[in-house]
């Protein structure tokens, strides 16, 4: 495939059309003008030639008595009256020996006599000849040389008219090219502009408007269809990407954020607290006796427990807080900036209350889950994510131990 460098000046379509039109019209006008001029000149010359023959015959008849009488002046006057007619350069009356009895010449202006002489020689190489006869005896001869003045004038006016026509057609070509540009190139420009917008701005919703020219319209419709397909693909890709991104940061089973998202959120919360000076808390949970649920009821029931716990956690926290499943039966919540210890307790109480509701197992039975919780408060329990997590974890195990001790008194359901 041939690639064209952008700095190489390519002709635009309108320039191309204008050039083609100009050439076409120049060619046709020049051809028409030339053929008209040539054919006109030939026709005029033929008529003039016939006219000269006729004039020669007339002169022969007119001057016959003058030649018989030998009256040279009468002969001269006779041919002068004829010579005054247009289109005659020279009239000569000769006797049978070829001696010139009388002669008339067109009074030439000095200005164009040379051009005219050349044209006369070219157009009338031979004179029109008529014999002066008296009772079938030749008593003289008339020779008439044509004058090209009329033909030259015709050619000149033809040339001027051709040139004016040429000028007019050049102007007409410009107008035509401009109209063509409006009619043909503007729709194409639309297509190009839309294609450019799609490429550079990802504006897949753009469409090519209807152009009013069948070919370009068909092209535009196909282009639009292609754009619609592209838009579909692009939308699919975008949502797929978003889904992939969500999956990378969320737990597939419960829909809560995973450890990756938790670490991000924690780092963000620390950064925010550094700026605002407010404190926040990290809550760490695990499900009591989750191993036993799995062992006793199967992994499906374990999954149901995880889903139920996640659901209850999500419902128990505020909108600004975030719940995560860190893995296995471990959950965490990042509590957004809070005013006092009481709000932590309120959240924990809500979680406890929510867990008190039994959940339904796939087997149809219902069960209860209980959580052990550990709390770490920024910045009191640590300033790094690791410290906070470790502290929350430790607190949770402490709580679990405490619960186990009290559970020995007979409060463990799991």
């Amino acid at each position: 495939m041939q690639r064209v460098s952008p700095n190489q000046a390519l002709p635009t379509l309108s320039q191309l059309l204008a050039r083609v039109h100009l050439r076409l019209i120049l060619f046709s006008v020049v051809l028409a003008a030339l053929s008209l001029l040539v054919s006109g000149t030939i026709v005029i010359r033929n008529y003039a030639s016939r006219n000269l023959d006729l004039v020669a015959k007339t002169v022969a008849y007119t001057v016959e008595p003058a030649v018989v009488f030998g009256d040279k002046q009468a002969v001269a006057e006779g041919i002068a009256s004829v010579g005054a007619v247009n289109g005659i350069d020279r009239v000569a009356v000769l006797d049978p020996q070829g001696q010139v009895l009388a002669e008339w010449r067109h009074p030439h202006g000095d200005f164009h006599s040379r051009i005219e002489d050349a044209a006369n020689r070219f157009i009338w190489p031979k004179p029109a000849v008529a014999t002066i006869s008296r009772n079938d005896t030749a008593i003289g001869r008339i020779e008439i040389y044509g004058n090209s003045e009329g033909i030259l004038r015709y050619a000149l006016s033809g040339l001027i008219i051709s040139l004016s026509c040429l000028g007019l057609t050049v102007i007409a070509t410009r107008i035509l090219a401009r109209r063509l540009q409006q009619d043909v190139i503007a729709p194409l420009d639309h297509v190009a502009e839309v294609a450019h917008a799609v490429r550079s701005d990802r504006a897949f919703e753009r469409r090519v408007p209807s152009s009013g020219i069948a070919e370009i319209d068909r092209f535009g419709r196909d282009f639009n269809a292609l754009l619609a397909e592209l838009q579909g693909w692009h939308a699919g890709l975008t949502s797929e990407n978003a889904e992939l991104a969500r999956r990378a940061t969320h737990d597939a089973l419960t829909g809560l954020g995973n450890r990756v998202l938790f670490e991000q959120t924690l780092a963000d919360a620390i950064g925010q607290s550094v700026r605002s000076g407010q404190s926040f808390a990290v809550l760490y949970f695990d499900i009591d006796s989750f191993k036993q649920i799995n062992d006793r009821h199967g992994h499906e029931c374990g999954d149901s427990a995880l889903i139920a716990v996640a659901e209850r956690l999500r419902q128990s926290i505020r909108q600004a807080d975030h719940a995560f499943r860190l893995g296995g039966d471990e959950f965490a919540v990042v509590l957004a900036a809070f005013a006092d210890q009481a709000s932590i307790s309120a959240v924990l109480e809500r979680v406890d209350r929510a867990m008190a509701q039994p959940y339904r197992l796939p087997t149809g039975a219902s069960a209860n889950a209980s959580l052990s919780a550990g709390v770490a408060v920024y910045p009191d329990d640590g300033v790094s994510p690791q410290d906070l997590l470790r502290r929350a974890d430790a607190n949770m195990y402490q709580a679990k131990k405490d619960r186990a001790l009290s559970g020995a008194k007979g409060k463990n359901h799991a």
Binding site: T62, P65, V68, F69, G70, D71, Q73, A74, Q97
Partner: protein, 179 residues
């Protein structure tokens, strides 16, 4: 109606009109016959006038009658028309009766009354009348020769021409440029 208004058609005739060879021949004959420089021109003019005149029945030969003493008639012998007819010359008296058989009447120096008598008799009879010496146009001849130094011209009496019973080629009238 055209009255006696004698319209003068003067055609200038150069004495050297004839081609060189003919001119040389003529000048030899001229030198032999007489010393009159007008005689050849008169001969040619008379021949041309006969040439362009139409009789109702073309005479053959054409009889040229000379009446009265003629000064320039020495070259009127042996003239021949382009169609081959000859012009035969004879002299007649100044009497109208002598006109019989004449096709052309050449008037020499005659008194006006005698000339009028002849032209009156010739009128309507198909006789071409040419007057050699009639500057005032009193002879009523159809053609009147006018001698100028070095040139011979003629006047035309249109009235006489129209009454003559002859047809003169109108191109002969065109030869002249009004006088």
């Amino acid at each position: 109606m055209i009255r006696v208004a004698t319209i003068i058609f003067a055609a200038m005739l150069a004495s050297f009109a004839a081609p060189p060879a003919v001119a040389a021949e003529e000048s030899l004959v001229l030198a032999a016959a007489s010393g009159d420089p007008y005689a050849p021109a008169v001969g040619r003019m008379v021949q041309s006038m006969v040439e362009y005149t139409r009789w109702t029945s073309p005479p053959n030969p054409v009889e040229l009658c000379i009446s009265g003493p003629a000064d320039h008639a020495s070259r009127l012998d042996g003239l021949r028309l382009s169609d081959g007819r000859a012009i035969v010359r004879r002299s007649i008296s100044a009497s109208p009766l002598a006109l019989a058989g004449c096709d052309v009447l050449y008037l020499g120096r005659l008194p006006a009354s005698a000339a009028r008598g002849l032209t009156d008799a010739a009128r309507g009879k198909g006789v071409l009348t040419i007057a050699e010496s009639d500057p005032d146009g009193r002879s009523q001849a159809m053609f009147v020769l006018v001698f100028r130094p070095g040139a011979l011209t003629f006047r035309l009496n249109i009235d006489a021409v129209s009454r003559s019973g002859l047809r003169v080629d109108p191109r002969v009238l065109r030869l002249a440029q009004g006088g």
